[in-house]
Symmetry: C2
Subunit: 338 residues, 2 copies
DNA sequence: GAAAATATTGTAAGCGTTTGCACACCCTTG
DNA sequence: CAAGGGTGTGCAAACGCTTACAATATTTTC
């Protein structure tokens, strides 16, 4: 592996017989260069195969054209779809993406943010189930713009892109209630997390109240984070007496769905289930999971677009963007006639 | 967002009353520093909240402690699990990871590699279904080590980590044949890709030949890349007369499984299916998909470990690493008694 | 106790760019 | 034709760090 010495801006300047500055100008699209010299420079660049060294550039200009993405887990379909949206528009704006997995651990989130600061990223997209105080502090002191994607800041101080979780949860809970279910269970992750308690559960609760039902914690199930932990919770939800189930995550929903069916339940005859993320899981399951429709790709894409504005010092017209969600009726709910 | 002026190495040198070099030494763990001065420097660093600027460091040292990962799609469970392995050991060695999605497009792969070169990454992990000539050339000329993860180089010139696809395919095909199937179908992606034709199909073919069967292209199905395209192919495999099916990818397998069942087939009574990646899809499906067991996380982790060696100029003991695979018997195959 | 070794620290030259400023040059104007 | 006004270009100073090499301290050695 011979590391062939890359041509530098100096080499092309020499070859053409101009100064570094001129070469730099044509490379950066500065217009104050005579057309003829520009051509000569371009030719030399082509001939030498010159590619500007992004590190040197970053040092001199204090812009790295790199952004950081901190996310819980690449392996999680919900987040990876957001990431795809982020990545695509990042590329569109010629940013590279440094990703870090945190497993939702605040300590690692803080480390990731600080590390990204060290690497002089121009901005950061943050995804996570909860905005820990330590993380918040790290974000505030990092010195570059940060936008949240699919992640809430209850204080509303940070730029963010989300759907209206309260409304979405309210909607699907209401539908189940309208379908006549006496008891609707809700399955969430950590209840300490604002997104679960203050948003999702709040929407669920409001629906219950509007329908004149009491909120009974016996129908609240938490700590379901993935397929395995969903399987742990599933027996309890099956025994709970609830016949309608709203779930905050697809991997969890498919776990519960599978458990119920494996234990003789007919879906949607015995239980109606609605999930929330509309990932591939909700399509490959049998029956297919009815779900809140989230514009996941767009959440990421819009968040990244906002970040580009922030990085260009353009004011945001809206700090907390709420993208529209839908309801996708598939096979774990009974047909409704509105 | 006030960008607070970060302390530089110069600031801490001043504060302590030593030279830059000394500070640099303690930051970099150089041992030739008197314990007492080291302490003073450390104290100053702490007090000023000094964090070395990685960009400047990269320029001076020509090491960025950043690697590039080029992959088809973060959203693909197989690749994202490899990436998780990569990321974890990268972190372990204090590398950051720059990821690029290519959608398996050689043009974008080449662009990604060149772009990473520009960013002065210390090394690259490449994942893709096919090693296009253009990509190969880009890899050869990029000037930093590249290792393939879950991706084959038929020429065997590049460091790589894989399972033995030929053996794996041979094994599952044989099992199906042993179970008495007269016709075993094989479902692949692009047949032009070496990994499909020269590896997977070769293993399939050898199994057939060993069992005295003719290889009949009527049982070869290609161009199935994801759930949707799997659904497109599924009717043909159902009609083909094959009763055993080996599939190269889980998302494709679950598509075929679902189609067959949706059209009245009993699995595994009417059809036995074996898939290849052992992702979450093979567990959430009903019945659960029997699969080749691939150490996906490890493939990524080992590839990254190899890359660290290469970056440290340590010779590899083995260029093309083959990790062991297993067979995971689940519910789309009938019980076997070996 | 002085020379020789060794340990510690400082000097300064890069690393490959960007960019503010100054300098030429070439047209216009009046 | 001198002054004014662009254009086009070059100079040189950063950017924040690493790292030979040189210089100075501190120990050892006999």
């Amino acid at each position: 592996m011979i590391k062939k010495q890359n041509a530098t801006i100096y080499d092309v300047a020499n070859k053409v017989g101009v100064s570094l500055a001129t070469v730099s100008r044509v490379v950066n699209g500065n217009t104050n260069v005579r057309a003829s010299t520009k051509e000569k420079v371009l030719a030399a660049i082509d001939e030498l195969g010159y590619q500007p060294n992004a590190v040197a550039r970053g040092l001199a200009s204090k812009k790295t054209t790199t952004i950081g993405v901190v996310m819980p887990d690449v392996t999680n379909l919900y987040y990876s779809e957001l990431t795809r949206g982020i990545d695509d528009v990042a590329n569109m704006y010629h940013y590279d993406v440094l990703v870090t997995n945190t497993d939702d651990d605040p300590v690692r989130e803080v480390m990731a943010i600080n590390n990204l600061a060290t690497k002089q990223v121009d901005g950061i997209i943050f995804m996570g189930n909860e905005l820990d105080q330590r993380v918040l502090k790290a974000i505030e002191s990092v010195g570059v713009p940060v936008v949240l994607a699919g992640s809430v800041d209850p204080a509303g101080q940070l730029p963010s892109v989300n759907i209206d979780y309260v409304a979405a949860m309210h909607q699907i809970t209401s539908q189940l209630l309208d379908n006549g279910h006496e008891h609707v269970a809700v399955v969430l992750g950590d209840f300490e997390h604002a997104i679960n308690q203050e948003y999702r559960f709040a929407g669920y609760k409001r629906a219950l109240e509007e329908h004149g039902h009491e909120v009974n914690r016996d129908y609240l199930f938490t700590k379901a984070h993935n397929y395995q932990t969903a399987l742990d919770v599933a027996p309890d939800v099956m025994k709970s007496g609830a016949t309608g189930i709203v779930v905050y995550d697809d991997e969890v929903a498919i776990g519960i769905l599978n458990y119920l069916q494996d234990h003789g339940a007919k879906i949607p005859a015995d239980f109606e289930i609605v999930t929330s993320n509309d990932t591939n899981y909700s399509i490959v399951s049998r029956p297919q999971l009815s779900s809140i429709g989230q514009p996941k790709y767009d959440i990421g894409a819009v968040a990244m677009r906002m970040l580009t504005k922030l990085m260009d010092n353009i004011a945001l017209t809206e700090l907390a963007v709420t993208l529209p969600h839908t309801f996708i009726e598939r096979q774990t709910t009974r047909k409704r006639q509105d």
